[in-house]
């Protein structure tokens, strides 16, 4: 592992070590670029991960103070926890379930295909599926995605068997154990899935891809990576010419450090990334960095989500095996006849007893609630995830009334469901219930959205600099050597779990950054 000087202004500084930042850092190192990777969290390992929902949450989750507003139910149930994402080396790739789906062709053209949806700020992406296909393929190979690159699918667990039986009875055509970044057989020096469950708690066998034990050690091997855990970035600075020039962070000892930089790539997830750009406001950029469009923090998307849990007469034991064990993709297309634009995926999901109690119906009490816990071993569960509408008013802003442990304004996350989101959620709930009823459910329950794990769109890509924050390379329109390298870039959300696309964009961005560096154009 390399150690670069704080005043070395030739390095690329990457902020955040998750799917975007961790991948980008490794890709750059492989191309011979020197990278300082700043990560706010500590470095854990497969050995230190904990098979315990609450203790693991304490170990991995981003728990810095945040506030919420708006009519979304998360603001009521979890007012201080808008998002369930991670502060640890590897970021949310420690916590993700592993579902790795490509966005659909039409989802890159949402404004054109869906039309002018009132109350939404839809835009076409400045790139197409065709542009991304070669990079998707590289990403799938890197992640070892099942059902791609000759990697077999995973074996289905009990939760999947219930989903499959119901799906076939209601006439769905496409139901299988999915495209998962979980080794179904040993691959890339990592073992095969042991069907432990606890995918959300950090995979203790390392079968699930995480930058923590793939990209980051690979980058360290090149001698080009200087990873600095427990380094929380406070501000990005710029020079008189308006180019970013340094990053100020609080280190593990509580001291402020200033790392000079030739290029800065921000990958702090869709809440911290716009927050950092806003916190970095200066006399030259009074509204924050890369914000001449006023779009930084706007168009926050979290996917339409919800879950259906069902009780059966016979045992299921849904907690056994992969958390996201299978998928129905029949509802993923765009079919406005259903009463909404865009589509949704249906994916199995299981919670342990502690988290089922916390998330099944937050705030509920009494026998209607305890009935489900009494039947814990006979429950199956699925998560519903679909495209939500970007809205300029769904937004991450600085809340100056509340300060975090660094004395900085905390991010406020404002969200109101668009009527399209509500219509899609109701359709998805009904579809999920139908699947379980067909499989013999005696009772079903519509679980409201969990705190957001898919946070997207707050620094979106746009062809026209007026409409967004960055171009099709994630390079900000305003500042040529400042990049956005995470899900914040998404112009629209699509229906699919976003990690594969984040990794794909990072691989593609790395090539662009390296090329611009060698051309000396940044």
């Amino acid at each position: 592992m390399a150690k670069f000087e704080l005043n070395d202004d030739s390095v690329v500084v990457v902020i955040g070590s998750g799917a975007g930042g961790g991948t980008l850092a490794n890709e750059l190192c492989q191309k011979g670029v020197n990278v300082v990777l700043l990560e706010a969290g500590k470095r854990e390992s497969t050995a230190t991960f904990i098979n315990d929902e609450w203790n693991s949450f304490g170990q991995l989750a981003w728990l810095d103070k945040r506030t919420t507003s708006g009519t979304w139910r998360v603001a009521k149930d979890f007012s201080g926890l808008p998002a369930w994402i991670c502060k640890t080396v590897g970021g949310t790739t420690t916590h993700w379930a592993g579902a790795s789906l490509r966005l659909h062709e039409h989802e890159f053209r949402a404004r054109t295909v869906y039309g002018d949806i009132k109350g939404a700020s839809l835009l076409d992406w400045p790139l197409t599926l065709k542009d991304l296909e070669p990079f998707y393929s590289k990403a799938e190979d890197k992640l070892g995605v099942t059902r791609t690159h000759d990697v077999p699918g995973l074996p289905g667990n009990n939760n999947f068997k219930v989903m499959y039986a119901g799906a076939k009875k209601v006439g769905y055509k496409d139901c299988n154990t999915g495209h998962m970044a979980i080794n179904s057989r040993p691959r890339a020096d990592r073992g095969h899935c042991l069907q432990m469950g606890f995918c959300f708690q950090g995979c203790k066998s390392g079968a699930k891809w995480s930058t923590l034990y793939t990209e980051i050690p690979a980058a360290e091997k090149t001698g080009k990576l200087d990873l600095r855990p427990q380094s929380h970035v406070l501000k990005i600075e710029h020079n008189d010419a308006g180019k970013v020039s340094a990053v100020v962070y609080r280190d593990a000892d509580g001291k402020d450090q200033r790392q000079k930089a030739r290029v800065v790539c921000v990958a702090g997830n869709s809440i911290e990334t716009p927050r950092l750009l806003l916190l970095s406001a200066s006399p030259k950029y009074p509204d924050g960095l890369a914000n001449s469009s006023g779009q930084v923090g706007r168009n926050y998307m979290r996917h339409m989500t919800g879950s259906v849990y069902a009780v059966f007469n016979e045992p299921v034991n849904m907690y056994r095996g992969t958390t996201m064990a299978g998928i129905i993709t029949d509802e993923a297309g765009n079919d406005p006849k259903r009463g909404f634009v865009g589509g949704y995926e249906m994916e199995t999901l299981a919670l342990g007893l502690p988290f089922l109690a916390a998330f099944l119906d937050p705030g509920a009490w009494g026998p209607e609630f305890t009935y489900f816990l009494d039947n814990y071993t006979r429950m199956a569960g699925m998560w519903l995830v679909g495209e939500d509408m970007p809205r300029p008013t769904n937004r991450v802003t600085l809340n100056s009334a509340e300060k975090d442990q660094y004395g900085l304004p905390v991010p406020n996350v404002h969200f109101d469901d668009h009527e399209n989101d509500v219509a899609m959620r109701n359709h998805a709930y009904a579809a999920g219930e139908k699947v379980y009823q067909a499989a013999g459910a005696v009772k079903t329950f519509r679980t409201p959205p969990y705190p957001s794990t898919h946070n997207l769109g707050t620094c979106r890509m746009s062809a026209n600099p007026r409409d967004g924050v960055c171009n099709k390379w994630g390079q900000t329109h305003d500042i040529a050597n400042l990049f956005v390298s995470d899900g914040s870039q998404f112009t629209t959300g699509g229906a699919e779990n976003p990690t594969l696309t984040i990794v794909t964009l990072a691989i593609r961005q790395a090539g662009y950054v390296a090329e611009q560096l060698s051309k000396r154009s940044i």
């Binding site: 609450w54 989750a61 026998p367």
Partner: protein, 204 residues
């Protein structure tokens, strides 16, 4: 399994339900404190097979026994589970007692809330009928006391080994090698999906 091993640590601070500042505060003297809750596990309980003795006791440091009893009963109204032993509900009293010990404001709120329960039940909440108990708890819905107790129930009642055993959740699986050879796909009451949808497990 000893009851003290079964009890949870107070390390629930990270849950979204109960963000609590870890500030040491001096306890005021208005509470009598130092209560003790006792009980006996039913012989039929799955837990009695795990425990060396069916009798259990739990010491309270700040709340009085009667207050602990009231919280146990309130937990049973909020989250009723047939056959779930009082030893589990006693963990609710233990955790709230821990919170009261750290913060006099919390102790005062609990004391006042319990007094309000008694009043709403017409004297004694603990000895009131089930219907009266439910009515008393409902009458306090929306108060900080109600929110605190209800929120604490989620971690106190469902995040402990006794609850895991009762509800049939085995907890950690890593130490047992996961479920790869222990029934991750052992469901037999529905047809098996075809290999195209659900391929065979890896064989070395």
């Amino acid at each position: 399994m000893d009851i003290h091993r079964l009890t949870l640590s107070d390390d629930h601070e990270h849950g979204p339900e109960q963000p609590r500042p870890q500030i040491a505060l001096t306890r005021r003297e208005f509470l009598k404190g130092a209560g003790i809750l006792t009980g006996t596990l039913a012989a039929s309980s799955i837990l009695s097979a795990l425990a060396p003795s069916r009798a259990w006791a739990l010491e309270l440091k700040t709340l009085a026994s009667a207050q602990g009893d009231a919280l146990v009963q309130m937990g049973k109204v909020l989250y009723p589970h047939k056959g779930l032993p009082d030893a589990v509900y006693a963990l609710l009293a233990k955790d709230l007692d821990g919170a009261a010990g750290k913060d006099p404001n919390s102790a005062q709120m609990l004391g006042e809330g319990i007094a309000a329960l008694d009043k709403a039940a017409g004297g004694s909440f603990v000895t009131a009928s089930d219907a009266k108990k439910l009515e008393a708890v409902k009458s306090l819905e929306g108060t900080p006391f109600f929110k605190t107790v209800r929120g604490q129930c989620i971690t106190s009642l469902y995040n402990n080994e006794m609850a895991f055993a009762h509800f049939g959740y085995p907890g950690p699986s890593w130490d047992k090698g996961g479920y790869f050879t222990r029934g991750f796909g052992d469901l037999k009451w529905l047809p098996d999906p075809p290999g195209s949808a659900s391929p065979a497990p890896y064989k070395a």
